[in-house]
Each structure stands twice: as structure tokens, then as C-alpha cells.
């Protein structure tokens, strides 16, 4: 039987005028879920699920070899269909983001590959992909300068800001922004925006996402602790 919550006028008004909160949907992950890879992670943010695997430092093709640092390769596979330019752009962003995080100079002339498989896209897909990729790199124990956390936020028609939006919210939003922060100085690593917004809205979203990113970093720490402390 369904249950109802009755809100008074006063409570409704308070709800509408409440400041935006730095909330994330429920995060669950499974590290080392696949056995043949150097590192693997399956991450769910709410219902959006992404599986990422990492290899490296491994052999690199001569054409892509760099003499001073590792070559970072990212492949993004959508759930259905062949990769299209939209997916190439995602790969480009994820690769550039991970390249600044990975300590490439420690492994010149080698390749660090990350393969990301979209399992379910129900909002904030790009953010979930970047977070899963970071977890996969942590699982593979690749040397990193810092960890990266991505958080998406949506600006609705009435000006309300929602962090880590679901797909239904994203579709109705006026603008969607994905921010990626690093864990040392909390500076901005990447940003991707869709839709129109004012400078003020940009700043509010950015600060809210930065706050939310701290929860993601805490989640990484917790996940790795669970994995490492089970070894004796």
C-alpha cells in the first residue's frame, strides 16, 4: 500500500527556498571484480553503472611511444552500437584528465591503458566514468600525482541546482556541468558544460561540486582500505 507524506504550505516554501546541498547518490564499488586485468573497478552512482579496467605500465606500439613519459590510452565503449564522435570526445576528455593525474615520467616508453564500459547510463555518465577510471587505476596501483573526482551538477529552469543529477533531471535541466577536481590542492582539472548559464550559476555549481568531490575522495579511501586491510 502506498504511503503519503503531507507537506504544509510553509514546508513546501522552505523546501523550494532551501540552499542547494552537496549530495551524491549512493556510491557502491567493487574493486578487482575482473581477474585477468592489472586493475578493475565497477562503480555505481545511484543507478548509473560503469565498469573500468586498467593495464599498465605495459608494452606500447612504436608509433605511440613517447620517450619521456608513458602513453595514456583510453577506450570508451557505449552500451549499444559502435563508438561515435560523441564517444571520441568523452575518450579525449577522460584521457587528458587521467594524463595529468598519472605519474607518466616514471614509466617512459610504456603504455597505461584504461578501458571503460558503459553498463547503465541513468545520469551523470561522464562523471561516473572518470571516477570508475580513477578507481581502476588505484586498484592497479599505478603511480599517481593525485586522485581525481568528477561531479556533475544540473541547473534547473527555476534556478535550482542539483548535484549528481539523475537522467530525468538532466533531460529537464537548462544546463549540465561536469567538474573534475584533484585531491591535493582541490584545483580544477577538467570542466565540461552543456546549455546556457550565468557566471554566478557557474560559480555556485563549481563550489558545490568541489564540496561534493570530497565525499568521492573519502569513498575512494574507504574502498581501498577495505581491499588492502583484508590482506594479512
Amino acid at each position: 500500500m502506498a504511503s503519503f507524506i503531507v507537506l504544509t504550505e510553509e514546508q513546501q516554501r522552505l523546501q523550494r527556498e532551501a540552499p542547494p546541498e552537496a549530495v551524491l547518490r549512493c556510491l557502491t564499488s567493487e574493486l578487482g571484480c575482473l581477474t585477468r586485468q592489472d586493475g578493475s573497478a565497477s562503480l555505481s552512482q545511484g543507478d548509473t553503472t560503469v565498469t573500468a579496467v586498467a593495464y599498465g605500465p605495459a608494452e606500447v606500439r612504436m608509433a605511440r611511444e613517447r620517450i619521456d613519459r608513458a602513453t595514456v590510452e583510453v577506450v570508451y565503449k557505449p552500451k549499444v552500437g559502435l563508438p561515435r564522435p560523441v564517444d571520441r570526445k568523452k575518450e579525449n576528455i577522460i584521457r587528458n584528465t587521467l594524463e595529468s593525474a598519472i605519474m607518466g615520467s616514471a614509466h617512459p616508453r610504456s603504455a597505461i591503458s584504461v578501458i571503460i564500459q558503459e553498463t547503465e547510463d541513468l545520469g551523470s555518465n561522464l562523471a561516473c566514468c572518470i571516477n570508475a577510471a580513477c578507481l581502476a587505476l588505484l586498484d592497479a596501483a599505478v603511480g599517481l600525482n593525485f586522485m581525481v573526482a568528477a561531479v556533475a551538477s544540473a541547473v534547473m529552469e527555476d534556478g535550482k541546482i542539483v548535484t549528481d543529477p539523475e537522467k530525468k533531471v538532466e533531460e529537464k535541466a537548462v544546463a549540465v556541468m561536469t567538474f573534475v577536481f584533484e585531491s591535493v590542492d582541490h584545483k580544477l582539472v577538467s570542466v565540461l558544460t552543456y546549455g546556457k548559464f550565468t557566471q554566478e550559476q557557474y560559480k555556485v555549481c563549481r563550489d558545490l561540486c568541489r564540496q561534493t568531490a570530497q565525499s568521492v575522495f573519502a569513498f575512494y579511501r574507504e574502498s581501498l582500505e577495505k581491499k588492502l586491510l583484508k590482506t594479512v
Binding site: 605500465p57 605495459a58 614509466h107 610504456s110 588505484l138 592497479a140 593525485f146 581501498l224 594479512v232
Partner: protein
């Protein structure tokens, strides 16, 4: 005297300030996972901080991919014969080179009997990020001391780097427990490769499974597992 943070989990980007060291020691040695960044120590890999006397700190991380390091003993697979050298796959980002003269008793006239596909137990002579790794099957006195081609069958399998280090550690009861119950030969490479050979195929496979399963077990669980294993094997053996 170890720092009180030893045993804690650290993540990449974390900073260790004022790392403690005992009064008698002037130098701290930073092992894998720790980077000296000017006046602070940064962590580059996720793992548990460990300490060993006199002043060595390192991050113990869970890794499957081997990065060649000088002095490691590894198990390699010969993939190619190119003139005077063999190309050996040691599991790193580059294949290592092994000169045919790096075997005991090898001379220009007396070439060693090594074919493509053979497994060798070798030591890393040259291993750094800028150069191609080089392995040898003799020590500095010219003796093989256990190294060389591993012949006569057996089973080669991959394990994580933590598991091989655990196998080689004196505190681990695995090798001893297995030794009470099975007759075997075991070669452990620090590159995550283990070669095992026992009296029969069933025993070899049982041993390999036992080793793989012991990754997250403590000594008591290992002893119990070995007992169950030997019982299961004797039930399966057909004389």
C-alpha cells in the same frame, strides 16, 4: 623506532610530514610509493605504510603488474632468438635481453641449449626506466647458483606481486605446510610468476590452486587449507 602512522592506509596525493626516525640513524630510505618532493614526502600509490629497521619506509600496495627492478630474481619466457641475444618476456613493459654468454659454462664455441619457448630463472642485471632491462643466468662469480633454464615439465602460473612476496617471506607457513604433505619443486619469480612441479599432474594442479587460494589467508587458515588439500588429492589419486 617506527613512525606511528605505520600500518595506516595512504592514498596518492597524501603528504607525510615529519617522518620519524630513530636518533642513531641519519638517513631515511624511501621505498616504492614514496616520492621526495622538496621538503615533503608525497605518496604516489595506494597502500599500507610499512617500516623496517634501520630507517626504511615504503608503501605496501596490491599490484599485479611487474615493474623491473635491479637485482630481482625473475622467471622469464624466451620469445625470440636474435643473433647473440635472447629476448625474454618478464612481464614488464619491455622485453628483457639475455646474452647467450650469461649461462654457466657458456663460451663462443659452447653455446647453451636454449630454445624459444623455454622458461628461465634469471636475475635482473640492468633495470631502470630509461633503459631496456637485461637479465643474466649467472652470478658475479660465473656460477649459475640455481639459475638457468627450467626443464622437465611442471606448471607455470601467474600470481600477484603480493602473493609471491608472501611465499618468499620466512613468516609464511605455506611452503612449509605444503612441504609436509607433498613432494615438489617450486621456483618463485618476483615478477609474479610461479613454477611448480610435483610427482603427478593432479598434485601439481592442487598445489597451484593451494598457492593461489592462500593470498588472503593467515597462517592458521593456510595450515587448515593444506590439510584439506592433501586429503582431497589422496582421494583423487588413482594408483
Amino acid at each position: 623506532m617506527a613512525d606511528k602512522r605505520v600500518g595506516n592506509v595512504f592514498m596518492p596525493g597524501d603528504v607525510l610530514e615529519d617522518l620519524q626516525v630513530s636518533e642513531s640513524v641519519k638517513k631515511i630510505v624511501l621505498g616504492p610509493g614514496l616520492i621526495d618532493d622538496g621538503n615533503r614526502i608525497k605518496i604516489s600509490k595506494p597502500g599500507i605504510l610499512r617500516f623496517r629497521e634501520p630507517g626504511i619506509y615504503w608503501i605496501d600496495c596490491h599490484q599485479k603488474r611487474y615493474v623491473p627492478s635491479k637485482g630481482d630474481s625473475v622467471i622469464g619466457i624466451i620469445t625470440q632468438k636474435a643473433g647473440d641475444i635472447f629476448r625474454v618476456d618478464i612481464g614488464g613493459s619491455e622485453q628483457a635481453s639475455l646474452s647467450y654468454l650469461s649461462f654457466e659454462g657458456a663460451t663462443k664455441r659452447n653455446r647453451p641449449d636454449v630454445k624459444v619457448g623455454d622458461i628461465v630463472y634469471a636475475k635482473l642485471l640492468v633495470a631502470n626506466k630509461d633503459m631496456e632491462p637485461e637479465v643474466v643466468c649467472i652470478d658475479s662469480y660465473g656460477r649459475s647458483s640455481g639459475m638457468g633454464v627450467i626443464r622437465n615439465g611442471g606448471f607455470l602460473f601467474n600470481a600477484s606481486l603480493n602473493l609471491v612476496r608472501k611465499l618468499l617471506s620466512p613468516q609464511c607457513a605455506l611452503v612449509k605446510s605444503l612441504g609436509h604433505r607433498f613432494q615438489f619443486e617450486l621456483a618463485v619469480g618476483l615478477n609474479g610468476r610461479v613454477w611448480a612441479k610435483s610427482k603427478s599432474d593432479i598434485q601439481t594442479i592442487a598445489m597451484a590452486n593451494g598457492i593461489m587460494a592462500s593470498e588472503f589467508m593467515d597462517n592458521n587458515q593456510i595450515k587448515a587449507m593444506c590439510k584439506r588439500l592433501s586429503r582431497a588429492v589422496s582421494g583423487m589419486e588413482v594408483e
